[in-house]
Structures are given as C-alpha cells and as structure tokens.
C-alpha cells in the first residue's frame, strides 16, 4: 500500500490532499506511518519500527495499524 505522492503533510500534522481539496489532522505516530508509506516501506517494516520505538505490544499495534491503513484507504489517500 502506498500513500499518494502529492499528499502533503506538515510538521504539525496537517495533511492536505490536493486531488480532492480535503484536509486532515494526523497525530505524530500517524505522521510517521504516512512518511514510511511514502518511502514505500512495507507494513511489516512499519510494525517492527513501532514495536522498537514505542512501549506497546504487538497485538495492539497490529490492530491499530490495520485500522489506520483502512482509514487512509477510506479517505482515498492511497494508490
């Protein structure tokens, strides 16, 4: 899964999709995930990264990541 290249995200977590004109707010961990997706990292790599960086268990991350990626798809931010 890839996030559209033209989707712009600011340091403060403000995300803008020029194709639709819609804007979103994303929390810091969400920003990191979107960045990794734009760098074409795989879901597995992202999962590993989160487990390494954050105090959290694998089941929770899997569930939350799955949900987050679905929301990106829902908002038509992926290609």
């Amino acid at each position: 899964m890839k996030v559209r290249k033209n989707v712009a995200i600011s340091d403060s977590g403000f995300l803008f999709n020029p194709s639709s004109g819609d804007s979103y707010s994303v929390n810091p961990i969400g920003q990191e995930i979107i960045q990794m997706l734009q760098e074409e990292k795989s879901e597995l790599e992202i999962l590993d990264y989160i487990l390494k960086e954050y105090m959290i268990d694998k089941n929770t991350v899997e569930k939350d990541l799955y949900d987050f990626l679905n929301m990106l798809k829902n908002y038509k931010l992926t290609e």
Partner: protein
C-alpha cells in the same frame, strides 16, 4: 534507550471537524483526580465501574443555593427530594445541613424516618398513598400533600375515624406558559379545581390546611415560569385568607431547577447555558414578596430542589473494554458501564473525560455500553483522545436519578463511594453480588432438580 509512550495512530477529517465546533477542549481535558483521590486508585480499590459522590460538592451546592434564596426571602426551608438520590449517606449530608425530607412513597418515608428525620419534617407527596401510608403519616404528624379528590375523601374518613386533624397541603398544577404542562398531578388552578379542593377541606373541618404545593416540571429552562407559578400560589393563599381568614403557613414550590447537564439536541454545553440558581430565586422570591402578604403573615417558602443540588456532585468512573470501527467508518468505543446504570444518557449528552493524560489529537467516536442491546449508547458522538482497552474515563454530572433509577440488567450494579471533606473515600453502597440479586427469589421444590 527509553521507549516512547504509545498513542494509537489517528487521522481525522477537518472538513467534518469544522462543523463540530462544540467538541471543545474542555470536553476532553483529562480528569485524573476527584477531590484529591486518584481515579486510578479508586478503580483499583473498588472495581470498575464505580459511582463517586463528592461530599464537598453537595455541601457547597446546598449552602450556595440556600444563601441565594435566604438573601432574597426571610423564611426558606429546603426538603431533600429522596427520589433524586436516596442513598442514606447522601440524604444525611443534606439533613446535617438542615434540609428536611420530601418523599413520594412509603419506603422513602421509612428511609427518612430511619435516618432520623422527625416525622413533622417529612413532606409526603405523591399520588399513591395507601390507607396505611396515610395512617403512618398522621401518626408522625407529617404534612400530607393531597394529590387528588379520592385521597382527600379517604384522608377525611381516616381522620374522622381516628378523631385527629392531620396537617395537609394540596398539590396545585397550573399553566405557567411551559409546554407540556404537568397537569396530571394535583388540582388545576385555572379551572377552579384547586379552589374547590380548598373549599371542601375548609367545609368539612377535619383536615388542617397548612400549605400549598406545586412542582411545575423538571429541568425547567425558563426561570420566569417559577415567577408565574409563585404568583398563582400566592393568589390562592390570599383567596383562602380573604374567604376563611386563615393563612397557610407555607408555599412549597417543589423542584425542577436545571442542573449543569446538556440536554440532547440543545445548542451549546449545559454548564454554560442553563439558568443560574439566582434567576430562579429572583423569580420566586420577588413574586412572593410582591404578592401583598401582611409582614407577620409571610408564608414559609419550601423548596424540594433535587437535581440542581446533587447532579454535579456525582461521577461515574469506568474503563474502556474495546475499540471498533463501524461499517460506516465511525470509531466506536465500548465501555464497561451501560444505560442500565446511566438512565439519564437517554436525555443528556453527558460530559465524559479521559482519566489519563493524552496528546493533542482527538477523534470523534460513539460510546457504547457493554449490554447486549442496541439502545445501549452512552454518547452518540463525542470528541475524545484515542482511547485504548484499559484506559479509564470519568462521566460527569450523574448524581441525580441515575442511582435511584438504575436497573439490574445483565451486569451487576457497581459500588458507590463518597469522598469526604478531607478527601477520604468511604463505601456508601457495596457492589452487587449474585446474592443481592437472588434475595427474595423462591425456587419451588419441584423445580430444584433436573438432569441434562
């Protein structure tokens, strides 16, 4: 290297967000402590969910309300509305503050007596008083507030039989410009029923008419309606005086002042938009003072204020069971308490705060209870930080009616704790267990055995 604190990744559409300008920051400011007690510790000690009452808040509310009325009218007496919250500890805080009792059923009446309220300081309201209830009230010299003609006749018969003169008031209903009009209780003012009831009482001479009572509605957002009601009550009192040369000793204005809750569908948060107590007080007191009573005959003003004195002194603490994504993309959070113990979630959008610190980001969510039924919705739409299983929340302004109207359904009901003036928690009702539930159940012998 120290790992970072995790927060679920969230993305929120701002196009939607702009519409929702009342998802204000105050809604999700974390509430980690109540009167100095950590929410986390309370839940660990007493289990989740848990009702918490703040004694400090109750006393503050009472003293404040009493002061507001007493600075406007010289003779004020409060009677605690038992049905609003009849946990003995709660009632006794009010009684310690000087409040009498107001009851609408026999068991509430017994509760007030057991709590030590003198019989002549318990106002007995309600449409359903049995002969036995009436006899008990007569014996204890409690003012009986007559609801309908059948009760008036019955009470007259009992008084004749016992050869006593019970103290009574009549409940009056009236048009105060408020819709719907509460005309099912008591005698109507405009169509002459109330005056007729007065004449019947005066004619038979058996009952001592000591007061007039009304309760014009609940969560009344128009203080002016109380002004109209007080004026009509005063007019009735003056008519009695003119016709019979007898002055009633009190006018009881009932309850109904709005609490700091947000009615569903209303614009803005309740805490900012409901009238102040002083507005109700001003309306009532100026109507009574301007009614033209002789100074030495000014009636007492009785008040049966319920929700406005207790609602914001009650909190419900609970925990997140799980998160879901609904088929339409909305976030759903499942909590460990349901509408069975939060009856008022059917008409209020209760304020809910997380009980732990969070980042800046929030998302819109629907909050469900744990009951296996579709109507178990605590909030249809609330803006909260991302909550995960095990996180804790505080529901605000649940001190009125939730405990007394709670149902035992699927889940056992939680404990209730009161935090005292020094910040010490006390259990004032223990958590239900299976035995609580089965007390009173009888299993016929022939059903006691089976083989599967």
């Amino acid at each position: 290297m120290e790992k970072k604190q995790y927060e679920r990744p969230i993305i929120k559409s701002l196009n939607q967000g702009l519409m929702n300008k009342f998802g204000s920051r105050t809604e999700y400011t974390p509430m980690t402590h109540i009167d100095g007690c950590a929410v986390k510790d309370l839940l660990e000690e007493y289990g989740s969910p848990l009702f918490v009452m703040s004694e400090r808040k109750i006393r503050d509310n009472y003293r404040n309300t009493k002061r507001i009325f007493e600075t406007r009218y010289p003779k004020v007496q409060f009677a605690w509305s038992y049905k609003t919250n009849y946990l003995n500890a709660v009632c006794n805080v009010f009684h310690q503050e000087g409040s009498w009792g107001e009851v609408v059923s026999r068991f509430e009446y017994e509760k007030a007596l057991n709590n030590g309220v003198p019989g002549n300081k318990i106002l007995f309201n309600g449409p359903d008083k049995t002969d036995d209830d009436l006899r008990a009230a007569i014996k204890n010299d409690s003012p009986i507030h007559i609801d309908h003609l059948d009760e008036l006749y019955r009470l007259t018969e009992i008084a004749t039989e016992l050869n006593v003169n019970p103290r009574v008031a009549i409940r009056v209903n009236m048009d105060t410009g408020i819709y719907p009009m509460w005309d099912r209780f008591g005698f109507n003012y405009e169509n002459g029923q109330a005056w007729d009831a007065v004449n019947k009482i005066m004619a038979n001479g058996k009952l001592k008419l000591v007061g007039l009572h009304c309760h014009i509605g609940t969560f009344m957002l128009a203080p002016n309606a109380y002004g109209i009601a007080a004026t009509k009550m005063a007019d009735l009192a003056k008519s009695i005086k003119n016709r019979y040369n007898k002055m009633v000793s009190y006018i009881d204005m009932g309850g109904g002042f709005a609490s700091k809750n947000t009615l569903k569908g209303s614009y803005g948060l309740g805490a900012d938009s409901v009238p102040e107590i002083s507005q109700y007080a001003e309306a009532i007191c100026s109507a009574l003072l301007n009614a033209g009573f002789d100074n030495d005959e000014l009636p007492y003003l009785y008040l049966e204020t319920g929700r406005a004195l207790i609602d914001d002194a009650g909190f419900l603490l609970g925990s997140v069971i799980s998160n879901k994504r609904l088929s339409d993309g909305r976030r759903a959070t499942i909590l460990d308490f349901g509408v069975n113990i939060m009856f008022t979630s059917f008409w209020y959008d209760h304020k809910i705060s997380p009980a732990q610190e969070f980042g800046q980001h929030t998302e819109d969510s629907v909050l469900y209870g744990p009951l296996c039924m579709n109507i178990d919705v605590i909030r249809e739409n609330v803006t909260l930080p991302p909550l995960k299983a095990g996180d804790q929340v505080v529901v605000h302004t649940v001190g009125a009616y939730n405990i007394t109207q709670s149902m035992q359904f699927i889940a056992l009901r939680p404990a209730v704790v009161m935090i005292d003036m020094k910040g010490e928690p006390h259990v004032i009702k223990t958590k239900e267990v299976l035995e609580t539930l089965e007390k009173g159940e009888v299993l016929p012998d022939y059903l006691s055995k089976f083989s599967l």
